[in-house]
Amino acid sequence: MPGSQDMFDAIVMEGYEEGSSLGMIEGRQYGMLHGAKIGSEIGCYQGFAFAWRCLLHGWATEKDSKEMKVLESLIGMIQKFPYDDPTYDKLHEDLDRIRGKFKQLCSLLNIQPDFKISAEGSRLSS
């Protein structure tokens, strides 16, 4: 049957095009969810740290106090973290370090990190 192979190839190609656009859409949906979870958590730590830096300055605490050191360390870690890159090879390692530093900060400030602060509090992680 002449042309039946061409016709068959055309059908496979149409499937391929369909699959390509489906892959982009599906991938994007999953990616967005995961990216938002990370962005929400990291953003929260960052906002928290910036705000507390302001609050501590306002109360004339010694600049080299333990709280300020840990605070600046946390801010530094967050700013270096490529939060929008899912292929970052040290993603989980750095994330764990940031979480640990945040917990340390809370304990120094005598704060219970309640559910709204930590990642579990973000609705996006449900």
Partner: protein
């Protein structure tokens, strides 16, 4: 075509004479065999094509979506963090429970904004036009696979509208007791890239809270990108 010869040779033990007696029947049988064979090949080929195409772009799409999601939600996370800091400040200084419950309400509102923004972002993806593809397959007079994916997309759209209504309901529930005049903003649907009006309200409330606490407004400086 060896399979054509093979197809005509396939026969039951008692049918030998029947198949070769009438040439007209044989060609109809052969045609039917050919058609069902082609239909199977086409279905499988199309499915294989889809799988191959998906495998290529899934990671690409994931990376793109990840970046978009992280960047958009980051700002809301920062707002949540700032409010959490103010909340913990209040707890440490034994501030009035009215202020504490106000902050908690604002935190809930930010959480809801995050969900809303994320859903809106997901829903603005243009859907593929499978209908056009089906028309061309139909013209070839071959059977086509029903696009299960199209049905899933519709379900996603439905969930978006469902959750949007839920968001509006929750918005009014959680913000009762506080200034409700801007609640009507919660009910409007807007395009993803325009500013979320209820966010403006949250920021205003946060600013007035900061003044009430006697804290410097500098504390909100890092939120200016909102």
């Amino acid at each position: 075509m060896s399979w054509l010869r093979a197809a005509s040779l396939v026969q039951g033990p008692g049918e030998e004479r029947d198949v070769f007696d009438e040439e007209a029947d044989e060609s109809v049988l052969v045609q039917r065999e050919w058609r069902s064979h082609m239909q199977r090949r086409v279905k499988e080929g199309y499915r294989d094509g889809i799988e191959a195409g998906k495998a290529v772009t899934l990671q690409q799409g994931f990376n793109q979506g990840y970046k978009e999601g992280a960047e958009v939600i980051m700002n809301y996370g920062q707002l949540r963090g700032t409010l959490s800091a103010l909340l913990s400040w209040c707890h440490l200084h034994d501030n009035s429970s009215a202020l504490i419950s106000k902050i908690n309400n604002l935190l809930d509102a930010v959480g809801q904004c995050e969900e809303y923004v994320l859903r809106h972002l997901k829903s603005i993806t243009p859907q593929p036009h499978v209908v056009d593809l089906l028309d061309s397959i139909q013209d070839m007079d071959l059977c086509h696979t029903a696009p299960a994916e199209e049905k899933i997309d519709e379900a996603k759209d439905d969930r978006f509208y469902e959750n949007n209504a839920e968001f509006n309901k929750n918005c009014s529930k959680n913000l009762s007791g506080v200034d409700c005049s801007s609640l009507k903003y919660c009910r409007t649907q807007e395009r993803a890239h325009s500013e979320n009006p209820s966010l403006t309200w949250i920021l205003e409330q946060t600013a007035s809270l900061v003044k009430q606490l006697g804290v410097s407004v500098d504390i909100l400086r890092h939120l200016k990108q909102l």
